[in-house]
């Protein structure tokens, strides 16, 4: 992996300084895939949790009695 840049003597000539410059279309596809995977995984997690909730007994939160100060 290399930026392809080996000298910083002529700064005015330098622009993109990251590795694989010119492959931005590939970077774009990676982000598209990553984002879609994120959303799909969330939808799947929601389905799993819904199924889990249906099969779970719902425990009632104990009510607290507030004792008035004497």
């Amino acid at each position: 992996m290399s930026t392809g840049i080996t000298s910083v003597a002529n700064l005015a000539d330098l622009a993109a300084v990251y590795p694989f410059a010119g492959y931005e279309w590939l970077f774009t596809l990676i982000v598209v895939g990553f984002t879609l995977y994120f959303i799909a995984a969330q939808i799947s997690m929601d389905k799993e949790e819904s199924a889990e909730a249906v099969s779970t007994t719902i425990p009632a939160t104990p009510a607290t009695t507030i004792v008035p100060a004497e």
């Binding site: 700064l11 330098l14 622009a15 993109a16 300084v17 990251y18 410059a21 931005e24 279309w25 970077f27 774009t28 982000v31 598209v32 990553f34 984002t35 994120f38 959303i39 969330q42 939808i43 997690m45 929601d46 949790e49 819904s50 889990e52 909730a53 249906v54 779970t56 719902i58 939160t61």
Partner: protein, 470 residues
């Protein structure tokens, strides 16, 4: 000398926007704390992650298309019917990456992405305790990376067609962002419905107390801090706005290229904040939630013109907007059974619309834009449908601001929010089941939120005692 000034201007601008991004992150810390505090114990972790994950989600979408929309749509569809694919903000652009020939695009992108995340967070709080995370994600993508961005391109850019032709003025995004997010929330809430038990059989609303009011108030305080960054990010911090060949005039400008002073902006921000807080404190009879929210209602009501108001005008507008927001919140709750858990529809939606409309009256006649090479704002042909000044610049008018504000709030907020809510609801994707809602959205993780209270900590201590034979 000119080259040195140019270099200093670039480096200062780069550093300035970098700092605004850092400051604006406090908005998200604030929203997270606020929502977590407002949620009940059984929903705390879900609420936290739902809001937190809007940050990378909207950020990724902003990388893919959000920022491109802002640049590409500025003239569309009035001055141009084509959309450029060489704006410099396409995801494949070399400018939004380490590039020694461009020092501004990245920080500019980040500031806008933070605006987008804020827009999504506005929606988040209102929907807590009964919304599916995936539904919120889809809504967040729309609100954060599309809904407010098109209005911003049209009316929150010196070259935007609404700024040029309608003289639309909304410097700190009252209508452009807050009204859009608030009204989109309202549209979604119409389909989402209230939390179970929120309303009695006769329709009387019940208070669902926050599980931690201190987090709510600290969260809102954090949002105030982030708001300073939000304001700062709406400026061009330094530019020479003089005509070519004239004596240089270096100044900060608003987003339309019109000279302003940060000194004046700080005064207006402060007085709007004070006006909102005091008013909310009084009308709510000292309710902490409303007192802190009053800071936001005050700011959002005055934001559209807070670059040019007098501080006392900002205060008066903040007072009026805050009273309106407080009254409307409870009116819509009683009348339409809208369960807005954090008051976002009123605080952002109604105050945003109000602020956009009021600015048109208060700033009537002021030049809406100022073209200069330093700000890259250029004057179009036939600008100023509602009037121009002696120099041919479009002017701010109530007509322009009323039209723009209504188009944004209804056309990009309420109607799409309603449609999105309807589609998600029809597909069964919007709301969790009643079982899940009662169990708590944290499900089996509920006891881990506060282990000392749930008994988990005592359980582990028992194991420790057994192992240590004490």
């Amino acid at each position: 000398m000119t080259e040195q000034l140019g270099a200093l201007t670039t480096i200062f601008t780069e550093f300035y926007f970098f700092l605004t991004v850092v400051l604006m992150f406090f908005i998200h810390v604030g929203f997270c704390m606020y929502e977590v505090g407002a949620a009940r114990t059984k929903n705390v972790q879900h609420t936290l992650l739902k809001n937190t994950m809007a940050i990378p989600l909207v950020g990724l979408c902003f990388f893919l298309f959000g920022m491109w929309i802002y640049i590409a749509f500025q003239g569309w569809p009035v001055t141009s019917l084509s959309l450029s694919l060489s704006t410099g903000f396409e995801p494949w652009s070399q400018k939004i990456a380490p590039n020694l020939s461009d020092r501004i695009s990245g920080v500019f992108w980040a500031a806008f992405a933070l605006f987008g995340m804020t827009a999504a967070s506005i929606v988040s709080g209102s929907l807590i305790e009964r919304t599916k995370t995936s539904a919120f994600f889809i809504i967040a993508i729309y609100v954060g990376a599309i809904a407010w961005v098109v209005p911003a391109a049209w009316g929150w850019a010196g070259n935007g067609w609404m700024a040029q032709y309608l003289g639309f003025h909304d410097q700190y995004c009252s209508a452009v962002l807050h009204s859009v997010a608030g009204f989109a929330t309202l549209g979604v809430l119409m389909h989402l419905g209230p939390r179970i038990g929120k309303f009695a059989a006769d329709g009387t609303p019940r208070e669902i107390p926050p599980h931690n009011p201190w987090l709510v108030t600290i969260g809102l305080f954090m949002i105030f801090i982030g708001f300073w960054g939000f304001y700062a990010a709406c400026h061009i911090p330094i530019a020479n706005v003089a005509a070519e060949g004239a004596t240089p005039y270096f100044t900060a400008t608003n987003i339309y290229g019109v000279p302003i002073t940060l000194s004046g902006v700080v005064m207006n921000f402060s007085l709007a904040l004070f006006g909102g807080m005091v008013t909310a404190y009084i009308v709510s009879k000292g309710n902490p939630f409303w007192t802190y929210s009053g800071g936001l209602t005050g700011l959002i009501s005055a934001s559209a013109g807070n670059d040019l108001y007098h501080p006392v005008i900002a205060l008066v507008i903040a007072v009026a907007g805050t009273v309106m927001a407080y009254k409307l919140h409870y009116w819509q709750e009683k009348k339409f059974k809208i369960d807005d858990a954090v008051g976002a529809v009123s605080v952002h939606g109604y105050c945003g619309l109000f602020g956009g409309v009021v600015a048109g009256f208060a700033l009537w006649g002021y030049p809406a834009i100022m073209p200069s090479a330093g700000t890259a704002v250029a004057l179009g042909e036939g600008v100023g449908w509602f009037g121009v000044n002696a120099e041919g610049l479009p002017i701010v008018t109530p007509f322009g601001n009323i039209i723009g504000s209504l188009v944004f709030a209804l056309g990009f907020g309420l109607l799409p929010g309603w449609a999105l809510g309807k589609i998600l609801s029809s597909l069964g994707m919007l709301r969790v089941s009643p079982e899940k809602e009662l169990l708590g959205l944290d499900g089996r993780h509920v006891p881990t939120t506060y282990p000392a209270h749930s008994g988990l900590e005592a359980e582990f201590e028992a194991i420790q005692r057994a192992e240590a034979k004490i």
